[in-house]
């Protein structure tokens, strides 16, 4: 065997050895490898940074909603806008949106608010600074919200955000809202929320939104009630934990309202009263508590 052939043989042997070692490693150190088996490429490459990237993609969607204006302190977000856009259709089955306030119930919330047309200069005074003066003229911003038929523009960013990280509940929530309320595709919204619930089993807001879409848009109280029940249970469990948030409290109150409303439809007044008492103990001054009390007062049969 000449020297060249020997080198080739050694090289081939090296390749086979490395390949075999690569196959052997996960078997030999099963469960102790830094990468989890079945993890996708994004998980391997980006790791924990995925959630941050996903959040920035959600912010990009918000920027699109505000007509391309960044870093804006505007009270109206995608979800509240979708509520406003769809509020006319919500009264049809006789139940108002829980916790959205009374204006929503009339269907006139933010009517004509699609375009603020508030002129935003670059935000900083350009006095005595020529460069800033030119920039403020070039980049003078017109803040206007997307109209409901334009809301499709934010979808690619929510799609990307939910694909980059399944833990970004806001991406699922807002994406489902846009699909269901602004674009009138509730089944697509439900599918997205189902995926969100699979990825975030402890997040009550996704269950709650699922219930809302099924009740308000699909008019299917039988499918909606289990979602409100699970949202209520998850929110209550979260409220008993160390990290209580106002959002969890609101989900708990609002799902209690819907459960109370559905119980009222069946004439189960004891259950309505139980939810009203629970809301009273959680937040006595909240509008949802007031709505629950109204449910009891309005139609309760006289003894």
């Amino acid at each position: 065997m000449n020297k060249q052939r020997l080198q080739t043989c050694w090289s081939l042997f090296g390749v086979v050895l490395v390949a075999a070692w690569g196959q052997l490693l996960p078997v030999r150190f099963n469960g102790r490898m830094p990468q989890a088996s079945g993890g996708d490429v994004l998980a391997l490459v980006l790791g924990e940074a995925r959630l941050e990237i996903s959040r920035s993609l959600t912010e990009k969607a918000d920027e699109y909603f505000h007509g391309g204006v960044r870093d804006l302190h505007c009270d109206e977000g995608i979800v509240s806008h979708a509520h406003a856009v769809s509020s006319k259709g919500l009264g049809t089955n006789g139940v108002a949106r829980a916790g959205m306030g009374h204006a929503d119930r009339d269907g006139d919330h933010d009517e004509g608010h699609d375009d603020h047309d508030a002129e935003h200069a670059s935000g900083v005074s350009a006095r005595g600074d020529l460069w800033r003066w030119i920039d403020s003229r070039v980049h003078e911003q017109t803040h206007r919200h997307l109209k409901s038929d334009q809301m499709i523009e934010v979808l690619p960013w929510f799609w990307a955000a939910s694909r980059v990280s399944g833990k970004n509940t806001e991406a699922y929530e807002s994406g489902a809202y846009v699909l269901a309320y602004a674009l009138d595709k509730p089944e697509e919204g439900v599918k997205l929320l189902e995926e969100g619930v699979r990825n975030n089993p402890a997040a009550p807001s996704l269950d709650f939104m699922m219930g809302e879409i099924l009740l308000h848009l699909e008019h299917d109280s039988a499918r909606a009630e289990p979602w409100f029940t699970s949202a209520h249970a998850k929110a209550r469990a979260a409220l008993q934990g160390a990290k209580r948030t106002d959002e969890q409290k609101m989900v708990c109150l609002r799902s209690a309202f819907y459960l109370g409303y559905l119980a009222k439809q069946r004439g189960d007044w004891a259950r309505v009263r139980a939810f009203a008492d629970e809301a009273e103990s959680l937040a006595p001054e909240n509008v949802v508590t007031h709505d629950l009390r109204s449910l009891l007062k309005a139609d309760q049969p006289k003894p």
């Binding site: 007509g67 391309g68 920039d135 070039v138 980049h139 003078e140 523009e153 799609w159 994406g175 699909l179």
Partner: protein
């Protein structure tokens, strides 16, 4: 400049334009754009089609990136090969004055970059025309005009840098400066305010003399269908571009005059 000088400048500029198309840089970046954009155009998130702004934004971003690459690449590669191959001697002994040579090279780099930009904007206009049915909106013309202003500055900076630095150092420094100014140009005073006196002076000096290429960026206006800016503002920005390029070329002429080959 007399008629002979004008012809010399035109001949030198023509050579630079030919060089761009001979190297097929434009075809490569055009193919790259197509490879990135075509799948995105066919993409429908959550099974819903009709979103277009994200494609517009990405297309314009690619136009900006590739115009920067072409503008900087063409201008920074004009003189170094002439010095390396010593072809600068026969060129200067034609006789072509150093000023004429510099002007010709600059005009060539600018013409080549702008010709590539025309192709990019035509492709972009076709893209939005076919997808959205909007053909050549007014804001797109302004975006193109200001983008030309951007190239006026970029090519002048690249050419000046090529006379005082090595090609790799020039490309790196110019790219960093231009991208830094594009993204942080208007935030420099706020950044300076939170620095120690030395850092503050440096940042404020950069703010004063750095190339404010953010003036030329109308991408947000185009993508989100904002109204067009006033043409007086457009003119003011173009005056800035020409003024900045003139200063760069004067410094380049100074460096070229003192350069020993």
């Amino acid at each position: 400049m007399n008629i002979v000088g004008y012809r010399q400048v035109r001949a030198l500029a023509g050579l630079s334009v030919l060089e761009l198309y001979r190297r097929k840089d434009l075809i490569v970046v055009f193919l790259l754009c197509a490879i990135i954009l075509l799948p995105l155009m066919l993409f429908s998130p959550f099974g819903v089609s009709g979103a277009s702004r994200y494609v517009d934004e990405l297309a314009l971003l690619l136009v900006w990136v590739f115009s920067l690459v072409i503008g900087l690449g063409v201008s920074a590669r004009l003189f170094p090969p002439e010095f390396e191959n010593r072809t600068i001697y026969p060129m200067l002994s034609k006789p072509v004055g150093r000023g004429t040579l510099l002007a010709g090279k600059y005009m060539g780099a600018l013409a080549a970059s702008v010709s590539a930009l025309v192709v990019f904007y035509l492709a972009y206009a076709l893209l939005i025309g076919m997808r959205q049915g909007v053909w050549f909106p007014g804001i797109l013309l302004q975006a193109f005009v200001l983008h030309v202003g951007f190239l006026v500055v970029v090519t002048a900076l690249g050419l000046a840098g090529s006379l005082v630095m090595t090609p790799s150092a020039n490309l790196t420094l110019c790219a960093l400066t231009l991208l830094g100014m594009l993204f942080y140009g208007q935030r420099l005073p706020e950044l300076a305010a939170s620095q120690q006196p030395f850092g503050r002076c440096m940042l404020l000096a950069l703010y004063a003399v750095g190339p404010h290429v953010e003036f030329f960026d109308l991408r947000q206006r185009v993508v989100h269908e904002w109204p067009a800016i006033g043409w007086d503002v457009c003119l003011a920005v173009m005056v800035y571009a020409v003024g900045y390029a003139a200063v760069c070329l004067m410094l380049a002429a100074l460096a070229f005059r003192k350069k020993k080959f």
